[in-house]
């Protein structure tokens, strides 16, 4: 995952520790958006070994998305649902211009490297919640893999049958994937950018993330501003309500230039 999100405190209740559902949704959307970005990068990069690497990275991110989707739907009081379109609504991804289109390869790699490393830290932070949900889901899991550790390396390269693994196991793999993504991107960045340039890119993306998270965390301020402006706008258009109704001419032939010309 290389789309950064802000992690708030976990829900601690008598039954255990849970990841707040909005947070689980954010994780799922961030993983999904990362998958989309990687897929687009694979289609555009024009270098077959990089493209293959991006495809494999996208497969990992899709698998992680499924993990967080299951986590989201496992919450007992959860009313949130995963909808891929929310990735656009919440600003995780801009389909008009994907990261690979708006950045050159160097900047794209730096972005991935820096954010994959932060993702690792985020996942460590939510570990107590994963453990708790995993216990709850135990009965629903059909197949427990005996030699989990031996399969780790193989599984990070393939994506099939992910639902047959326990949540704790998938989570461990997810950490490994993220570490691998961070290390691969870092290694590649070292090849294509000077140390000075790398330092500048790191500062730039870290500060950018912090500013975005700060603004994202100010929900009450944003809500107040939103309501305030909306009330003024509604108050201003209310007297003109009557002009917002446009009757249609039932008599005319509707397939006419006159009927096709206007926005109203």
């Amino acid at each position: 995952m290389f789309k950064s999100i802000r992690v708030s405190d976990l829900d601690n209740s008598k039954d255990g520790t849970y990841l707040p559902s909005r947070q689980a949704l954010d994780f799922a959307l961030a993983e999904f958006s990362s998958a989309i970005e990687m897929l687009q990068a694979a289609k555009l990069v024009g270098n077959k070994s990089l493209a293959h690497g991006f495809v494999n990275h996208a497969l990992d991110e899709y698998r992680h998305t499924e993990f967080f989707k299951r986590l989201l739907s496992s919450g007992s009081k959860n009313e949130l649902r995963f909808d891929p379109r929310l990735a656009i609504t919440f600003g995780f991804v801009n389909p008009d211009k994907y990261l690979f289109e708006s950045n050159n390869l160097e900047r794209f790699t730096a972005f991935v490297a820096i954010n994959e490393a932060s993702a690792l830290r985020l996942f460590s932070k939510i570990k107590p919640a994963i453990d708790c949900v995993s216990d709850d889901l135990k009965n629903e899991i059909n197949t427990i893999i005996d030699e989990e550790t031996n399969h780790l390396r193989d599984f990070t390269k393939t994506s099939e049958q992910s639902t047959e693994y326990s949540d704790a196991f998938v989570y461990e793999m997810l950490l490994l994937d993220e570490a691998r993504h961070a290390s691969l991107s870092n290694g590649f960045l070292e090849k294509i950018a000077s140390p000075r340039r790398r330092k500048w890119l790191r500062i730039r993306y870290k500060v950018g993330n912090k500013l975005r998270h700060f603004w994202g965390s100010q929900r009450s301020v944003r809500s107040f501003v939103d309501k305030f402006i909306s009330t003024i706008v509604i108050g201003l258009i209310l007297p003109f309500r009557g002009v917002l109704r446009f009757p249609i001419n039932k008599k005319q032939n509707l397939i006419s230039m006159q009927n096709g010309k206007f926005l109203l």
Binding site: I36, L39, A51, V55, R85, I234, I255, N259, G260, L264
Partner: protein, 570 residues
């Protein structure tokens, strides 16, 4: 070459279509390129894709038609909400924000991709776009007659239901129902209540209906609907979609029908929640069909025109379309392959074509555009290996399908509707119960209450199903369901729904590889199961990289294409 572009966007699935010298040649959904299902903004990628492919400029484009009046719909909804500004405050806030991101910016967003003379821009009324998209799929011999076009929608340009009379190049409005009284929004509200996503899960609600009893039908009729065909009114105290952007049903609805149902509760078919949802689905389906049929009956009586088309989002309800085809006095029914907003781009382009006095376009094909399975791409060699070339492909396909394998299909152009029709499909033998169950539950991870749809030759369909001859064309693109008759063989039972219906596809194209397969294997495998080539919740595959990613995620090993049978490299 002269071109006409049709565009839909901003609300549901965005898309662009292209007419070349009056023939539909391309239809691209924005989600195919963004890889995010239901992408609904301005279809910038699809437009740029077509501009590049056909070298489109102001000089070779006659018209560019947008599928609605950008300001009309917004204004109509705000007009309604402003009547009760306090109650509708949240929705009004949402609508005001929509102003800054909605279709009003169509022209400025268009300019990012294409500079076109203003006199070539057309804004077609939304429901007329729907009606003209259906007209494009009416068989040419019926197109010459007067036609009655019914549009059953959520909402578009402030309207929810429309009836048009179309003869040659003239369209006349017979009836129109305004927001908020909407069959589409009613059905979406029940979808929302049953835990499915609005504008996405309606087909699941339809599938659930067969498991329930219409216990609430009378209640709906007496307390929620006021039906006086062709008009119907909803008691809005049961709904919140006209007040709240987050929830479609009201507190009053919860008090009557109980707490909202979570989607995961429905996965347990023995649970009380499943039955509660199924009963509501059954009741909603029945009232939907009753109202649609009463409006059709009224329209035919009023105009004396028995040849009808149905479009709009509600026309995607194949069960209701099956019921509509049985309305007395209907002599022919056409439901287009993409009756929703995405397909309305075709209607907008058809409007532009008909403006100049030309006849409506006639779409005989169901696949448009070219294959994007690029075997010359250097990445392709890294991802796929050739299993069998075209010379030996047929025998190999017979063996694989016969042995129960699930195969990905990628041929020629893409389907224009939401349903996979064998060009971007996953298939397996319909009489192999294990394969069908694996494809449905493990590969596609669909709900157990939704069986997969079969594809067959017409002779098989007529032998084992009750086929309605008045709507024959619709079976080519799964627009209607059909009921299995008493001759239906038991080994194919897994494709039947609990009410013994199936959303069948009749394959008519004799050149199609799967047509030849079915002909070759007659008596052994008479039906194939056909489902869309995608992971649930994602768009259908577009190019070779999507195919690889989806095959890996689904665990499918083989893909058959125009150039050979391939398998994924590990």
């Amino acid at each position: 070459m002269r071109y006409i572009l049709g565009i839909s966007g901003y609300f549901h699935d965005s898309s662009v279509c292209l007419l070349e010298n009056g023939q539909l040649i391309e239809f691209v959904k924005e989600e195919s390129l963004t890889r995010i299902k239901g992408t609904r903004g301005f279809p910038i990628r699809s437009l740029k894709f077509l501009i590049k492919k056909y070298n489109l400029t102001d000089k070779n484009i006659d018209y560019l038609a947008f599928y609605e009046k950008p300001l009309r719909g917004w204004a109509a909804n705000v007009h309604y909400s402003l009547a009760k500004p306090k109650q509708s405050f949240d929705l009004l806030r949402h609508q005001i924000k929509q102003f800054w991101t909605g279709p009003i910016h169509f022209i400025s967003e268009l300019k990012k991709a294409l500079h076109i003379s203003e006199h070539k821009l057309l804004f077609v009324p939304h429901h007329l776009s729907h009606a003209l998209s259906a007209l494009a799929f009416v068989p040419s011999e019926i197109q010459k007659k007067p036609l009655l076009n019914f549009v059953f929608d959520g909402v578009g340009d402030g309207n929810t239901t429309s009836i048009f009379k179309i003869q040659k190049n003239e369209a006349e409005l017979v009836f129109q129902q305004d927001y908020p009284h909407s069959l589409g929004l009613f059905y979406s509200a029940v979808t929302d209540y049953c835990g499915f996503l609005v504008n996405e899960g309606e087909y699941k609600l339809m599938a659930l209906a067969a498991f329930g009893s219409p216990l609430h039908y009378e209640f709906f009729r007496e307390n929620i609907f006021d039906i006086n065909a062709p008009s119907f009114k909803l008691d809005m105290s049961w709904f919140d979609y006209d007040k709240n952007p987050e929830r479609s049903y009201s507190q009053k609805w919860i008090e009557k029908f109980g707490p909202p149902i979570h989607e995961k509760e429905i996965n347990d078919m023995r649970s009380g929640s499943f039955q509660r949802a199924a009963d509501l689905a059954s009741s909603s389906q029945l009232i939907l069909e009753a109202i649609i049929n009463s409006i059709i009956t009224w329209g035919i009586k009023k105009t004396g025109i028995p040849d009808i088309t149905i479009s709009g989002g509600v026309a995607q309800n194949s069960l209701a379309m099956c019921s509509a085809a049985l309305v007395p006095n209907v002599s022919s029914l056409t439901v287009p392959p993409s009756p929703g907003d995405s397909g309305a781009a075709i209607g907008a382009a058809n409007f532009a074509r008909m403006l100049s006095g030309s006849a409506s376009i006639t779409c005989k094909e169901i696949f448009y555009g070219a294959s994007h399975f690029d075997t010359e791409n250097s990445v392709f060699q890294d991802l796929f290996s050739l299993d069998c070339d075209t010379k030996n492909m047929e025998g190999r396909l017979d063996k694989l399908v016969g042995s129960g394998k699930i195969i990905g299909c990628y041929f020629g152009g893409n389907e224009i509707g939401p349903r996979a029709l064998c060009n971007r499909s996953l298939i397996c033998a319909a009489n192999n119960r294990q394969s069908v169950e694996a494809l449905n539950l493990i590969v596609k991870k669909r709900e157990a209450f939704r069986p997969l749809a079969p594809v067959m030759l017409r002779s098989v369909a007529e032998k084992w199903f009750d086929i309605n001859q008045k709507a024959l064309g619709g079976y080519r693109w799964m627009a209607l369901t059909a009921v299995a008759n008493k001759n239906f063989p038991s080994e194919y039972e897994s494709i039947l729904h609990i009410d013994r219906t199936a959303r069948i596809q009749i394959l008519e194209d004799e050149e199609h590889l799967l047509y030849k397969f079915l002909l070759r294997n007659e008596g052994t495998i008479d039906m194939l199961v056909n489902t869309s080539f995608n992971v649930a919740g994602d768009p259908i595959v577009f190019d070779e990289i999507d195919c690889f990613v989806n095959m890996k995620r689904l665990g499918v090993d083989y893909i058959i294409t125009d150039t050979g049978l391939y398998c994924c490299k590990p």
